[in-house]
């Protein structure tokens, strides 16, 4: 990905803010998906229990990821799938290219997959003269426009139907119409010809079941079913964190994901695919290849705070709920994964040095944590990453220590509101202690040590956020209360 500097993020954010059409679309998204989600979660009695359960399944899986991944690969292989391993995006792209080359395949259909976006698979294929066709309506629109997705569930949320109509006039030569049905039928008609000729279908995976080797893919349009059943070869790209232990664990996730993402009780289609077809005359592809990709994921296992990033089921609820995303949209984040989850996983995937601004692109209001179906504590993660950044950019060890300490307890206090009061008491004690120790000087000295992260924070306060309480305000009132 491109280097996301303070300037580019700032420019992106300001451009987005000036774009009233975009902000209208984002408002519509927040309200529509917010309401649908509320209505959908009201249809289960035990929503909170389901969230706890889902998280504990994910925690169990991640704590023994080597075991579950081995089981998944063995069982999928037993059922006839071919398993490939990719350490990073480059290797994953190379595996896909190799598979296409061996089959002399150039006609490729793709269904929406964040993992393939993450590794820029289309660009890698295009370099070799292969033009894969995105078949999800939203993805197809942005592919025609030469853009990138701005939302993980509704990729073309930033485009109006007028813009899409113009695009279709230009790229597929239809009469201009901004009737959504006409536009949709156009996509159906054109993409059907692509499906009919496709040699290979490429998809993502929502869940992989260790116990059976099954992959589950959810969708509403039907293009994933076509992608995974018409072409002779199906290639599925799957992050190593997508495993769940048991087949019946899918119950919990199938209740959480559609409700959180689009506010549906179930998406229109679920495809549960176990290996390859058992008789040559059966429907479906002759070969199924599953590429298991790390690409920075295993690194996240190294600490319980970062590990929770791997519990994400990519529902998009945190984007819809985020006051920052609602104002600036997905492109401002300058990365494949936008919104709160993007702000925490992008720095971990591509390296924190390239994406220092992302963990600061949040008001820490906690809305993301509230809606997350797998209870990922995104504010805690943001603070963890900020602490890492502070550690990296500061020279002396005393600086490093005090910042880490300050962030550490702040992170703890923020992530556990019930401990906040306790935290403030500790902070006063800590200040006295530090002052007495004399190394750092008077109390003001301790606060001065906070300048770099606080400085970064305050610098970002002019980003369009609507935090109910700012870090600065809390610090101020804390000092006044002394």
């Amino acid at each position: 990905m491109e280097h996301l500097t303070a300037e580019t993020f700032d420019q992106n954010a300001r451009a987005a803010l000036a774009d009233t059409q975009l902000r209208g679309a984002l408002k519509n998204l927040a309200v529509t998906f917010g309401e649908r989600r509320q209505a959908a979660i009201a249809t289960v009695e035990n929503w909170e229990d389901l969230r706890e359960r889902a998280r504990s399944i994910k925690d169990e899986t991640l704590a023994h990821l080597d075991k579950y991944l081995t089981d998944f690969a063995d069982n999928a292989e037993k059922a006839g799938a071919q398993i490939h391993w990719a350490r990073d995006g480059r290797e994953a792209c190379a595996i896909v290219l190799e598979l296409l080359k061996e089959r002399d395949a150039t006609k490729i259909v793709k269904s929406k997959s964040m993992a393939t976006e993450e590794i820029h698979l289309n660009a890698a294929l295009e370099k070799t003269g292969i033009d894969p066709v995105e078949t999800d309506l939203g993805e197809w629109i942005i592919q025609l426009a030469g853009e990138t997705p701005s939302h993980i569930v509704v990729p073309a949320i930033h485009k109006t139907k007028g813009q899409i109509a113009d695009l279709f006039v230009e790229k597929v030569g239809i009469e201009k119409s901004d009737d959504v049905d006409v536009l949709t039928k156009t996509a159906r008609r054109i993409l059907r010809t692509r499906f009919a000729e496709a040699e290979v279908g490429i998809s993502g995976v929502n869940f992989g079941v260790a116990e059976t080797g099954t992959i589950l893919i959810l969708e509403n349009e039907g293009n994933i079913r076509l992608t995974t059943s018409l072409p002779k070869t199906h290639i599925a790209l799957m992050g190593i964190e997508k495993v769940v232990p048991r087949f019946t664990d899918l119950d919990v996730f199938l209740k959480l994901l559609p409700r959180s993402g689009t506010g549906q009780r179930l998406t229109t289609y679920q495809s549960l695919i176990t290996g390859t077809k058992r008789n040559a005359t059966d429907e479906g592809p002759a070969e199924v290849h599953i590429i298991l990709m790390d690409n920075g994921r295993s690194r996240m296992l190294a600490h319980p705070t970062t590990r929770q990033s791997l519990a994400c089921i990519r529902c998009g609820a945190c984007l819809n709920a985020c006051p920052v995303y609602q104002q600036i949209g997905g492109h401002a984040y300058g990365s494949v994964y936008p919104g709160p989850i993007g702000a925490v996983i992008t720095p971990q995937l591509v390296g924190i040095g390239k994406t220092k601004q992302l963990p600061f692109a949040s008001s820490l209001c906690g809305a993301c944590r509230e809606v997350c179906p797998v209870k990922i504590d995104i504010p805690e993660l943001l603070l963890h990453l900020r602490a890492e950044i502070a550690e990296g950019v500061t020279e002396t060890s005393t600086h490093k220590f005090s910042e880490k300490l300050a962030f550490g307890f702040y992170s703890f206090a923020w992530s556990r509101p019930e401990f906040y009061k306790l935290g403030t008491k500790i902070s006063r004690l800590l200040q006295k202690f530090v002052a007495k120790d004399g190394k750092i000087g008077k109390t003001s000295g301790f606060l001065a040590k906070l300048a770099p992260p606080l400085g970064a924070w305050t610098a970002w306060r002019d980003a369009p956020t609507v935090a109910p309480k700012s870090f600065r305000e809390i610090w101020k009132s804390d000092l006044e209360n002394k």
Partner: protein, 228 residues
């Protein structure tokens, strides 16, 4: 491409990073441990077939599906005949379900019924007929297993999908169904809830984007006198 090398490297990294996390795990767990003990699957009352049918109908209709109930196969054939007439369907893709075969056998009409159609021919069909192995009442979902029926394309490619279901195939919950389908684990299990849809353009709902725009379920209830 050396796959075993990549595999070992990934597993080494997983194990190494998990080991590095150990010193932090206990403290974190104390604050963040999921309260798993609170989880209980709500116990549902045993529902009568009538209740199951009613729940299924309600939830199917809430996602835009069309529902008819009949007493037997010949009545199902009558309804089917009407629908085919109404849709002016000329080419009809059918799955290899014995139930579908039997019902289609009752039909006296000049439409063309195509079993096991090639992709090209499927794209010309204006209606598809399948059975289903199960249905989920709480979501209005049809469940099709590839080991029992060649279902994938007839239920997906034509603009109208008619599914013939029997009352005994309905269960209330998704959880029950997952347990059932796991037993014989077909190569492909497909869940279908309503018609193909998208909200990708300005979040406006559009039906029939890649799959059928219409889903019709004909339920055969031989268990008791179905009211009509």
């Amino acid at each position: 491409m050396n796959n075993s090398e990549a595999k070992s490297a990934i597993f080494a990294s997983i194990r190494q990073n998990l080991a590095a996390s150990l010193p932090f795990d206990a403290a974190h767990h104390a604050h963040h441990a999921p309260k798993d003990s609170t989880f209980t699957t709500p116990v549902l009352p045993e529902l009568s077939t009538e209740n199951l049918i009613e729940n299924f109908r309600k939830n199917l209709e809430s996602v835009g599906g069309n529902f008819s109930i009949v007493y037997d196969e010949s009545e199902a054939a009558e309804i089917l005949l009407m629908m085919i007439g109404e849709k002016k369907a000329r080419k009809i893709a059918v799955s290899d379900s014995p139930l579908v075969e039997k019902i289609v056998g009752f039909l006296k009409m000049d439409a063309e019924f195509i079993e096991n159609a090639s992709a090209d021919r499927l794209f010309e069909c204006d209606l598809g007929i399948t059975g289903a192995q199960w249905a989920i009442a709480e979501t209005g979902t049809l469940v099709l297993e590839s080991e029992s029926e060649r279902h994938r394309l007839a239920s997906l490619v034509p603009p109208v999908h008619v599914c013939i279901l029997e009352a005994g195939q309905i269960r209330q919950t998704l959880g029950e169904i997952l347990e059932l389908v796991q037993q014989s684990l077909s190569r492909t299990i497909t869940f279908i809830t309503g018609a193909s849809r998208t909200s990708d353009i300005e979040l406006t709902l559009a039906i029939g984007v890649h799959g059928p725009g219409e889903l019709i379920v004909i339920l055969i209830d031989k268990t008791e006198e179905a009211e009509n």
